[in-house]
Symmetry: D2
Subunit: 362 residues, 4 copies
């Protein structure tokens, strides 16, 4: 259990990094949505390893395969199963070092939980490759959100401690045109330099991704437990490297006074808005009509080529580990479309729960 997410737009994930495929079943997708493989492929391609951030050499291109739920170019109301077949799989290296717990990876926790039966090849079930399924489901969720004009933008706001400015430039285009999915050209240069250095050192870098959802209607969220913050956070923590999630002012609230943090309500063009958005568009666990703003902290990829201390779990003795083969120096840019996908999936679920997106699309 634990591989399904959502109440009305329910995604169920399956597959492993070096198994047959990575798949996702979407249950609760309204009927009548026009969808093609191309719609999904566009999103999937955003997740491809970039030239600047990766040493990754996996040559395969992830191609979506629609297994069910789409007929005559439209969703049918039946579960939509989407898969990406694994092809360029080289598992030998994992075979050799399978008893050496990789620091920062799930190896040990999974070993205990699953009694040593986990598929260890390429991280198996814990691989970032599973996020390909999230992105495919997110593509469909975004198509549904298009109906109510909700637009999601995710972008890199920090890598290796280097912060961005210039948020005024945020747009889908500026994000996609930047190799680090960052809208600040100046910061990008510094980040690229840091990445280059880390690559040389056989090391990796972390960062922070910000997601923004525009035009989210007020009233979404199910307090007091299934809150907008709670469900978004839960969805984002499903991304392997995420270790923190904050909304609006986030952790900075600690240094703020109530008079600073409270967003004053005002009437603007006949609508209620807030002058600031420290709440990140969420009050009482419910969207308030302002942009939803969330940030996720992404840890540096644990796979590094530097030698590391660890344990041989079979022999129960200390050991050393050197991980060869492909790995990303900085996963942050590749995680950007995944953050957008998890936001789309969560917001789509809430919108369906509220009946704002209908059960049949005409």
């Amino acid at each position: 259990m634990g591989n399904s997410l959502g109440k009305k737009f329910v995604i169920t994930s399956f597959g492993e990094s070096h198994g047959r495929c990575i798949g996702i079943v979407i249950d609760g997708c309204p009927a009548g949505l026009a969808i093609t493989g191309k719609d999904i492929q566009v999103e999937l391609d955003k997740r491809k390893p970039g030239n600047v951030t990766a040493s990754t050499k996996r040559v395969e291109e992830d191609k979506v395969d629609i297994l069910s739920g789409v007929f005559n170019g439209h969703t049918t109301g039946a579960p939509v199963c989407l898969a990406v077949w694994n092809e360029d799989v080289k598992s030998e290296s994992y075979e050799k070092s399978k008893d050496l717990l990789r620091p920062g990876h799930a190896d040990y926790a999974a070993f205990i939980k699953y009694g040593g039966y986990s598929d260890y090849r390429g991280g198996g079930r814990f691989s970032g490759r599973n996020t390909a399924g999230f992105v495919m489901a997110g593509a469909i969720a975004q198509k549904l959100l298009d109906i109510i004009d909700v637009k999601i933008l995710a972008h890199t706001v920090e890598i290796s401690g280097i912060k961005t400015n210039s948020r005024s430039l945020i747009s889908a285009e500026t994000i996609e045109n930047n190799p680090l999915k960052c809208v600040d050209a100046k910061a990008t240069q510094k980040m690229l330099a840091a990445i280059e250095l880390a690559r040389k050192e056989g090391d990796s870098l972390g960062g922070i991704i910000e997601g923004i959802a525009l035009n989210v209607p007020a009233g979404l969220g199910q307090p007091i437990f299934d809150t907008m913050e709670g469900e978004l956070a839960k969805a984002l923590f499903a991304i392997p490297a995420v270790k923190g999630v904050e909304f609006g002012a986030g952790f900075a609230v600690s240094g703020m006074k109530g008079s600073e943090n409270n967003d004053a309500f005002r009437i603007k063009r006949g609508a209620v808005i807030t002058e600031t958005n420290n709440s990140g568009g969420i009050l009482g666990g419910i969207s308030n009509g302002m942009p939803i703003v969330v940030r996720a902290a992404v840890k540096p990829t644990p796979s590094i080529s530097r030698k590391q201390e660890t344990v041989n779990i079979d022999k129960m003795e200390n050991a050393e580990l050197e991980i060869k083969g492909r790995h990303d120096v900085c996963i942050v840019p590749r995680a950007v479309p995944v953050v957008a996908a998890m936001m789309a999936i969560t917001l789509c679920d809430f919108a369906l729960q509220a009946g704002i997106i209908p059960e049949v699309i005409k």
Copy 2:
């Protein structure tokens, strides 16, 4: 919907700040647990407004009332319903200002979601008083965790930007003996001064709470969606003022290299441990046997006595608001036992799912 949490230890919350009661139903509590009202009352008392942080004048003492599920001093396996009856309720002031949206509160979001039918008295369903139910359920969860020796400590680590040190002093006693639930005496003095100043200014202060769970066995958590991080975060975001949640190194991972952030595995006294705990005891969404460490950012109480700009939602025009009556200057210390409760509830649920806590306690 949205008022239940958990899979096997399922809590369902009901009640309003100025209604009849605050209640919680616990479904899935094993049979045979020895429990008395006093066990629960002890925890409830930790949530009482303190002298130093509050202007609160609600004189009532929250007294637990066990409505079901306990027989002859033991749980029966049937749902345990616990309630606190509201007695010192003064709702007149809310009546007068009911159309003035309180900045930082759920008023507007709830108005839209529930079409103006919400109980607005004292925040109604969105009041921090609901956390009394969380604490009652947490008391039972902690009793269950005692069986497997899991111990939870929550403490204040930041108020108004003032950070604590001296974490080596953390213990249940040092926390409870400090008026701010903070183990750093020096920081406490500075925090108290900041609170005193904010009180005079009619303002409020935010902070950060850290929760630590000791002796959590490796293997708890249900990836890839019902992860340890995801479920803890979701539970913590149910606390009204929480705006950020991070684990282990948290947002600081952005500035770390993989070689710094990775926790090296080592054998120690025949067991696998990690030398550092940047992961906060969680890898791949599963506990790894190290202490679970989580931090929650608590925004300054939105109820402040200073005049604020807002909107009259009935007249749809700009207005000013002055909130009289009781309110906390700094909610952080009162939220500390609530953080502990949400952790206990979540960990207890995972332990029951894994069969580590049995269905009948002997």
Copy 3:
């Protein structure tokens, strides 16, 4: 776990026969529904023991107490908690015979499951009294169904093997005016005679209840697992004495040919109808616009005054049991409003899922 039912209109039951109360929390009730205690009391009163069927002497009148979720005469969107306080509780007799397993009751199964910690007084958690909670929730569900004109009628169609005819007379009035909730006056006479005889013999009688839902729109139900049949059946099997559930032609399909059982579609006044209704208004797990027809088999009350063979579970030896005190000779008529309630709860949940009943009632 297991004490909650529903996806969007979620009821959570708590309480015991001889505990403090019987309660129900309804999560997901739309805001703005006008509701009074009287609306609920009317339904609760239908569940009262009748003069003709019971030897029951419990004098207390079940009075609904609204604990949360209703403000200014309307639901608020918050959980509605309803309780009936237990007052006329005499538990001594249960104390004496607590080790004697009552045949046909849950005693043994519960003893094993809950390790002997169950509340055995009056059946405790397994008492038919819990259905008072169902009826209270059903009253609210029916008020919601009124909005879309769905009407539910349940009536007795068989007692002690005596079958009714005259279904053409079915109406709320004819049902309520009959002491056995049976619309066939002739059959009623025979049933009453059978009941009188069973009373003298210290025995009890079973029967069959039919529930009919009119005006259910086509399209409700969530195949392939959360079907209309599956969810209605699950809800009805929560009534302690129910041992069978069938829809439309039900078990009689075994003797029918496809050409007999298939309901021919026809156009009637511009709408698609079926000429017969062997499907009971459900095809493919989805309502088809015809009346939903379900029947539930109700076993004879296991509590009988005749001496019975059983086991002393403490001594693990054979024993004899004589149950004194109140009990119903024929529970069937009292179960009729409970069948109606479970249907209302289930249909209301489906209607909310489909967005046919809105989240705010204006």
Copy 4:
């Protein structure tokens, strides 16, 4: 939504009759279970159309394809995805008559629910072919139940009103060796004659299937809503043709007295048993250690070759329909392994919930 079943052993179904495949994802399967394609294929083969009951000419053999969750011959704890690829698909006939609602089928209900976007080819999502997924999941559930020695036997007890006797002969062998999965040779002859006649008449026949689960430990089931009866019934109603479900004495309880229906408890070889089993092994929604006995009424296949009256949904006018092509005269024998599968899935889920089957198989 609605395409997942279970709490801890959660199956998610996808696929259509004439789409790419029929698939099932099993989430919550313990790690370490030895499983091969052959184990699953054996069960799948039991669902093949028989020579005696079918006019079915679909030549393809359903071959299981394991897509995830199995590694080195054992389950890994990750979701197990199993698929059967559709190959011998002839959809032309469906194209021609797609506007003619097939009586007894889901066509109309689905048309309304999904706005005309359903895949109508071969019943699409509502086809009995989906039960291939159930059987594959059931094969794994049964392997898990083997660990605790629970054995499930399902067999035909009625076809076309012809009842079986000789239940003493029930065994896996006698069932599998009979062309109708019926252990009564004499009844089988009569049933075969009835089937032959129906075939000539272009008609179809219904029946009743009985499922028995042996060695189910007492204490399984989650009252008061997630009862053993309720969950088994819900699972069985997911089989397209099932219109009634009863336990133990079932609908016959209506004609029984309490003194007849109550199963007397006795001590036998140191254990508590009941002398009769009218309860079908379930009291208070919990298993009591006796065999679980359930019966499901299976309606005659709605697809018959006789001319039928219906409606053209596009033109909204009355019409006639003749269904050509393959169809079963009597689906009952093919539904027998499906009943067994749904029982296995449900019992396995309860056993996992209770911790009786461990999370890792050694």
